[in-house]
Subunit: 150 residues, 4 copies
Amino acid sequence: MLQDRFVPPGNAFTRRVTVRFSHCDPAGIVYFPHYFDIFNGLIEDWYEQELGYNYADLIMGSHYGFPFVHIECDFKIPSRMGDIINLTLLVDRVGRSSLGIAIVCHLDGLERLRARMVTAMMSLETRKPVPLPPALREKIEAYRLRTTSG
Amino acid sequence: MLQDRFVPPGNAFTRRVTVRFSHCDPAGIVYFPHYFDIFNGLIEDWYEQELGYNYADLIMGSHYGFPFVHIECDFKIPSRMGDIINLTLLVDRVGRSSLGIAIVCHLDGLERLRARMVTAMMSLETRKPVPLPPALREKIEAYRLRTTSG
Amino acid sequence: MLQDRFVPPGNAFTRRVTVRFSHCDPAGIVYFPHYFDIFNGLIEDWYEQELGYNYADLIMGSHYGFPFVHIECDFKIPSRMGDIINLTLLVDRVGRSSLGIAIVCHLDGLERLRARMVTAMMSLETRKPVPLPPALREKIEAYRLRTTSG
Amino acid sequence: MLQDRFVPPGNAFTRRVTVRFSHCDPAGIVYFPHYFDIFNGLIEDWYEQELGYNYADLIMGSHYGFPFVHIECDFKIPSRMGDIINLTLLVDRVGRSSLGIAIVCHLDGLERLRARMVTAMMSLETRKPVPLPPALREKIEAYRLRTTSG
């Protein structure tokens, strides 16, 4: 199988995650739903550490939710306990109330898996989509631009 | 939003799952990685109850694994604690060593989410794909035929 | 090691749980936090199926919570993928707002683990303990009496 | 309720953990089984970062397991999304093949919960307890001594 090389754009938000015992299944590799939980944590950290938003406040304080409307993921190379994997978050698309994110898991320059996730901002009270607040949208758009190669 | 109606084919493998407190997040809806864990359980039950294979034996005894190579999922209607959702498993495609499965979550004739998942049978020893054993393939193909409408 | 025999009292609430692939760790046995999640599910089922209370309504409708204040657990025999374990719920003690529960996991007459858990009923609004409603307390007390041997 | 103050011994292994959205339940507080998963991660980090052992190698390489034989936990103050809690690991007792650990979760000098956990070292092949290797035991004992106040 041809392997996919991946080098994250210089300014991309990347975090290292140690694969734990608890992530792994009896076959010794990461049980796949854990990846999605790890991705959700990465998105939280990106809001806080890259965009400067307090994720807990957005949800508990402002009563916004960010449910996923679409997810797809290609699993290419399994990860095992003790692996220290890198996760890079890229923005695919900023819509009116939706946000398309790519998360690439990589190690030693090889892609291990790649997910594309679309989330929609919604009010937890009306349960309807709400437009992304302009300040937030601007920050996300700026992030997208500075992490788009070429 | 136009809602998607869903009526499972008569012979399709369908199981009811109660949405538990532990499935739900602070917004009161199912935290999405739990769906994938629920799907994995449905697939195990399908192997055992529909195809007549002991899933634990396949993995621990015969040292086969069924890692996912691709997953996609559309989330349409959120589910809340106490909802009793229906999950129907359909077979999209039977490959040489791979299997394409669709799982539809539905309630009251409406699709709540739909996942497409591709799994590959592999040897846990060589970590390489292995062809589906003929007897297993035959059972899966027969299931596919009897659950394909039209 | 001397093994502990266990026969549940005749009227005790017992449910069978299949140990799934996803419950197990790289050592092939149940990863212990999953037991606590399984116990929480058992308690939900007990409220609904034995006491006749809708657990989701109690929490989402009446804004009560049942946080644990104390848990202890002895792990005696590990369980593996495919094991169909039995879980029996017993009531140790009914307090003013607290409830002491024992959960015994057993198979073939042998105790595999035993947990004691104390939960307190509280208002999600005031975040203070509230007395168990008399009707609920009565049902729990009746359950305790009919499942106490001797 | 009288609150328990806690100041960790100077040399104690302490890590900060951000309470995530995914840790929390519909009541907005940490769903308790997640604490045990977090504790397990803390113990892994302690082996690696404090004792200098590669936890993955111990388990996957040397085929040792560290199953818990006893756990108890008092939950005192709930934690919510966004809280940055501190977790301190203390050693209660070093036995022949068993290890008694205390984990204290604290914030702003107040104990939020305290767990006592007993783990036993065992061979994954024979499934029998094995004595702690002398070098490991020595390091644990030294840690215990330098973190025991008084």
